[in-house]
Amino acid sequence: MSAPKRPYPGKLIAVEGLDGSGKSTQIYLVKRWLELSGAKVYFTEWNSSVLVKAATSKGKKRQLLTPTTFSLIHATDFADRYERQILPLLRAGFIVLADRYFFTALARDGVRGVDQSWVEKLYSFAVKPDITFYFEVPLEVSLNRILEGRPALKYHEAGLDMGWSTDPYESFRIFQGKILKEYARMKKPYGFTVIDATDEIHVQQARVRKLISEQIDLARFVKRGRN
């Protein structure tokens, strides 16, 4: 169950950042770019395993989850996607794009008071990404992007389970502020590639594409019969 040592031909690119950092838009544009150039590409999202999702959403709705079970159920979701999709696709020579990877768990669980070395070890079966783009944004900017439309924030999304504040917006602010600190701490040790997420979308995207082209020989990933 330790991380696979055998080399595989695929590449893994992950994006991380606060809610409202624009990372999902950026990874979507990367996906379009790679698809249009004929590359074998696969996209996977945090918390999206069909099988585990039912349990997660039930737990969230009924507020049954505690920090430890919250952490474990997300690890289960990740393991399911990792073992059935991410790893086999890497071995089959795909470029796998991940909207959030286990760094999200480290940040969120850490904020919820779960021991990070414990969480880190839970995820030790997973390979580290070849590139992890971290979309860095000042807290106020990301908060404004999210809160502008006064969205209905979900219980855990707002961090209401932590009891910092009974006001969902205030709780969300506190939660995001704490997550930002966790990301700042992880940047160096995990070798994040930092992208300034206050730049215009196309400027960020140009930078991201350039960095990918420099580090990955994209021609190797073009589907047969396409070149």
């Binding site: 099988l51 737990g59 505690t66 920090p67 474990l72 289960t76 990792y82 919820r112 079966f125």
Partner: protein, 232 residues
Amino acid sequence: MKRPRKFFQRPLPELPEANFSGRLFAVEGPDGSGRSTQIAMLAQWLESRGFAVRSMGLRESNLVAEELEQAKKGNILTHSTLSLFYATDFFDKLINEIIPALRAGFIVLADRYVYTLMSRDLVRGADRDWVRNLYGPALVPDAVFYFRVGPRQLVERNFEKNTTLDYWESGMDLGLSRDMFDSFIKYQRLIQVEFARMQAEYGFDVINANMGVDRIQRELRRKVSSLLEIED
């Protein structure tokens, strides 16, 4: 009397202080070793002595039980996923049921505990340190009674209870043998080897479950009495 509690590796973040007066006794052993019969008898006896008792199995958690059953039926989960799913279920039970009962001063009789879950992961090739870490924030029981039965006797008891061998208790997912009987014997031996290893590490109280029901119960009561410091 409140007593400080121990965790395997690190405390649970949900427990600011782990002092409670209840006791946690775990009963381990394969299906057919007589665990549930013995637990029912023990609970009755303890209640007759004025103790509040709660018996808990591993399987009845609110959180993921349905999904787990569904996943097991389809046999579609890979190993790490299944381990983590089981661990989620276990910690849900520990945090939301076992610990509140211990706080309230109950004697909790756990029908299987982390050891069963760990042994299942280990025979499926999980990394030992990974598994230890996974259950690191679990509460260490006051005692673990391990019911040991030979694989042959187990087969007999399983057939007395059901007319067929259980897919999972036979470890059919491991591909040890296409033959279910063969697989059952091999799988139970592997589990027993893991238990022997854990016995040394965690200090189980081994009970020879080849004995008759009444003899086992007498031994169990004797052990529990001395732990509770009461007359047998």
